[in-house]
């Protein structure tokens, strides 16, 4: 599904990613962990198509197509979803209007007719229940005045509406209390299907108590320095990141 080969990238001339390779197959959940500043969010930004990151080397293929050639909206319509670390507020634009526009753009891309107003509202209701989001949120402007937890839940709600093939959740757990964390994680698990994949970017292990990854990668200083099963996350939780840092430095 997603194939990253030797990806190098820079922001304002400063190299952030120093050669990343990653294979994500349909149905898999990958966790990317690592200390602050290791390049986790930069990787997410590249996959979503933010233009402040410049790719200097390497390839990213998504379902056989060159992802780096696609505009951000095209990536979305092809099935890439980014759950934002800091969801953006858009005053004056209601969630209903926002989601309706987004869903119908996706449908148009697949050659489907736009949803009627009643079908759309029905879909919204279903998905709201699925992710246990407060009904009133849908009548408010996009993320405006939402609490941190509401914003994150709203990301999962949007994910439910758009049914992506590849969801990238960028530190979705940050700033969540334990109840909100459980709701967000449950949402992700319920949306899991055999043919869609998830990349969970996180600093802490605790989200992985709820979302069980197939593979855990540790990103450090722009490189994936270790990939292993879910037990790696527990090891990190116990020992912190320092032993990884030391290991890497010793190898060099």
């Amino acid at each position: 599904m997603l194939s990253i080969k030797n990806l190098k990238a820079a922001i304002n001339g400063k190299t952030i990613l120093k050669g990343i390779s990653l294979e994500v197959r349909p149905g898999e959940i990958h966790a990317i962990m690592g200390p602050n500043g290791s390049g986790k969010s930069t990787l997410a930004a590249i996959l979503a198509g933010r233009d402040f990151v410049s790719v200097t080397e390497g390839t990213v293929m998504f379902s056989g197509r060159n992802l780096l050639d696609m505009s951000p909206e095209e990536r979305s319509r092809e099935g890439i979803f980014l759950g934002f670390q800091y969801p953006i507020e858009i005053p004056g634009v209601s969630m209903v209007n926002f989601m309706k526009t987004a869903v119908n753009e996706h449908r148009k891309h697949r050659g489907q007719d736009p949803l009627s107003a009643s079908d759309f509202l029905k879909l919204m209701r279903e998905k709201k229940e699925l992710v246990e989001i407060d009904s009133a949120l849908a009548n408010r402007s996009v993320n405006e005045g939402f609490s941190g937890g509401e914003k994150k839940k709203n990301e999962i709600f949007q994910m439910a509406m758009l049914e992506p093939r590849l969801a990238i959740l960028d530190e979705t757990d940050s700033g969540l209390d334990i109840d909100a964390l459980r709701i967000v994680a449950n949402g992700v698990n319920k949306l899991k299907k055999p043919d869609n994949s998830t990349i969970v970017i996180t600093h802490y292990q605790r989200l992985l108590d709820y979302i069980v990854p197939d593979v855990v990668h540790v990103l450090y200083d722009g490189r994936i320095v270790r990939s292993s099963g879910k037990e790696l996350a527990l090891e990190l939780e116990e020992k912190g990141y320092d032993w990884i840092k030391k290991e890497v430095e010793n190898q060099e």
């Binding site: 951000p72 990536r75 953006i88 989601m99 402007s141």
Partner: protein, 482 residues
């Protein structure tokens, strides 16, 4: 990043002006220049009574003692008033008895503008007075309206057929000495619409005037007078377009509204004069005086404007709240793009007791444009228990444009409450990207955000025009955000 943002803005704001065509029609013009002979000539062409000629001459003499105002936040190139042609009229038979007598070329012009002159073709009952250059071409639905006693005709006809009404009301809200452009208009005004709603009548259809500038080197100086007698109601809409030309053209109009006891007038404008090209060449100078007088108790006047056109806009639709318990409203969306300049807002003058006013102004600036809100709320000593609420929001698209707010508040009593809120926001790159990531293109994202921003004002427009206005906003901002 700033550059990218500006590039996107350029793309989105470079929409073409759709109404820039010119109609090749035989036009009767008088020589350029302004003096008493010209004024006599205009008055003579219209076969006016002496009292009106006197009014014009009095205005002209006063105008000669005035200077063009310079207080607005606008940079206006010098205007040579002697080079302007003050009267131009499409040639046609003197009295148009039926539609068949109208030049087909004229009919086609208004068809292209989406203003069919055939009554049966018109969508949901809207009566139109179509004005090209200096004269009214055709007023539709006159007979239907006349059955209710409603008078809706061109200003020139009103002068001939209802001189008493015109004499009684003209200049009572905007006196001939009012300001430089209003005084100029009082001297040289050519045509416009006249409307009278008799006591107790609710006008069953929207009335509208469509202004079209066609001839080159001319100015358009129309005058509209709207009188709503006791217990009556009318909703009125005004639209305007002009051909694309490299020279600037002057439009200096007057609109006067009088609302008697318990009367209600809603006046909506969708202003789409040619704004000039991307480099700021050409376009209409729109210097307009619009004012309503709530004369009677419980009367209401509401202005709604969507301003997307003109190179320079200078206008402040205002309400004088004289009757006790009267109310005035002003809802405005003003869009400026490329090199457009707008200095617009309102004046609410509270004279009667318990008078209320509400101001909602939404400015959108893109390109290198300058957009100013200027508003006065004045509550006189006797206007006890009066209320005003003002909200002025500015939305910036890109980093080369400007938004300014100049609120003036004068309150002379202790029992009145005046509130003012203002916000300035910018469509951020992050907002656009967030939309992109959900599959929404940059252009659609801008439309979504702008529509959300102006919704409160657009909702005040009559249904059909709200749809038009929304489309117009999209075209005006096509190619423009970040």
């Amino acid at each position: 990043m700033e550059n990218d943002q500006d590039n996107i803005i350029n793309d989105v704001t470079s929409g073409e002006y759709k109404y820039g065509f010119y109609t090749d029609i035989e036009t009767e013009k008088i020589p350029p220049g302004l003096n008493e002979d010209i004024i006599r000539l205009i008055s003579g062409k219209k076969g006016e009574p002496d009292w009106l000629l006197e009014f014009r001459l009095k205005s002209f003499r006063h105008w000669q003692t005035m200077k063009m105002p310079s207080w607005a936040h606008l940079s206006i190139p010098p205007i040579d008033f002697q080079k302007i042609i003050y009267y131009a009229a499409p040639k046609q038979k003197p009295a148009v008895a039926s539609l068949d007598d109208i030049d087909p070329e004229l009919k086609r012009t208004f068809d292209r503008l989406g203003i069919p002159l055939e009554e049966q073709k018109h969508l949901s009952g809207v009566a139109v007075d179509a004005v090209m250059d200096s004269i009214s071409v055709k007023t539709t639905f006159r007979e239907t309206l006349a059955e209710l006693g409603i008078i809706f005709c061109s200003f020139s006809e009103a002068v001939k057929e209802y001189p008493e009404l015109v004499k009684r009301y003209m200049g009572t809200v905007v006196p001939y000495t009012d300001n430089f452009f209003a005084t100029l208009n009082s001297a040289v005004f050519s045509d416009g619409s006249f409307c009278y709603i008799p006591k107790g009548v609710r006008c069953p259809m929207e009335l509208s005037t469509y202004f079209r500038i066609n001839a080159a080197n001319t100015g358009q100086f129309e005058r509209t007078l709207l009188v709503a007698d006791e217990d009556s109601y009318v909703s009125y809409l005004e639209g305007c377009t002009a051909p694309m030309r490299d020279e600037n053209q002057l439009h200096a109009a007057i609109v006067e509204i009088i609302a008697e006891t318990n009367a209600e007038v809603k006046y909506s404008t969708v202003q789409n004069w040619y704004p000039g090209d991307k480099d700021g060449k050409g376009g209409i100078f729109n210097f307009v005086t619009k004012r309503g007088m709530c004369r009677g108790e419980n009367s209401r006047i509401s202005w709604t404007q969507v301003e997307t056109g003109s190179a320079i806009t200078w206008k402040y639709p205002s309400c004088i709240l004289r009757g006790n318990n009267s109310s005035g409203e002003f809802y405005s969306v003003a869009v400026t793009n490329n090199h457009q300049q707008a200095d617009t807002g309102t004046k609410m003058i509270h004279i009667g007791k318990n008078t209320r006013s509400r101001i909602v102004s939404k400015g959108i600036s893109a390109g290198q444009s300058q957009n100013s809100y200027r508003g006065l709320v004045k509550v006189l000593r006797n206007a006890t228990n009066s209320r005003n609420f003002s909200q002025c929001d500015s939305l910036l698209l890109g980093s080369r444009c400007g938004a300014h707010t100049f609120p003036y508040i004068e309150v002379d009593n202790q029992s009145s409450i005046v509130e003012h809120e203002a916000t300035t926001s910018k469509i951020g790159e992050d907002q656009i990207f967030y939309c992109n990531q959900r599959g929404i293109s940059t252009e659609d994202a801008i439309a979504l955000i702008v529509n959300g921003y102006v919704r409160e004002v657009i909702n005040k427009l009559p249904m059909e025009f709200a749809v038009e206005a929304q489309k117009l906003l999209q075209i005006s901002l096509e190619g423009s955000v970040g």
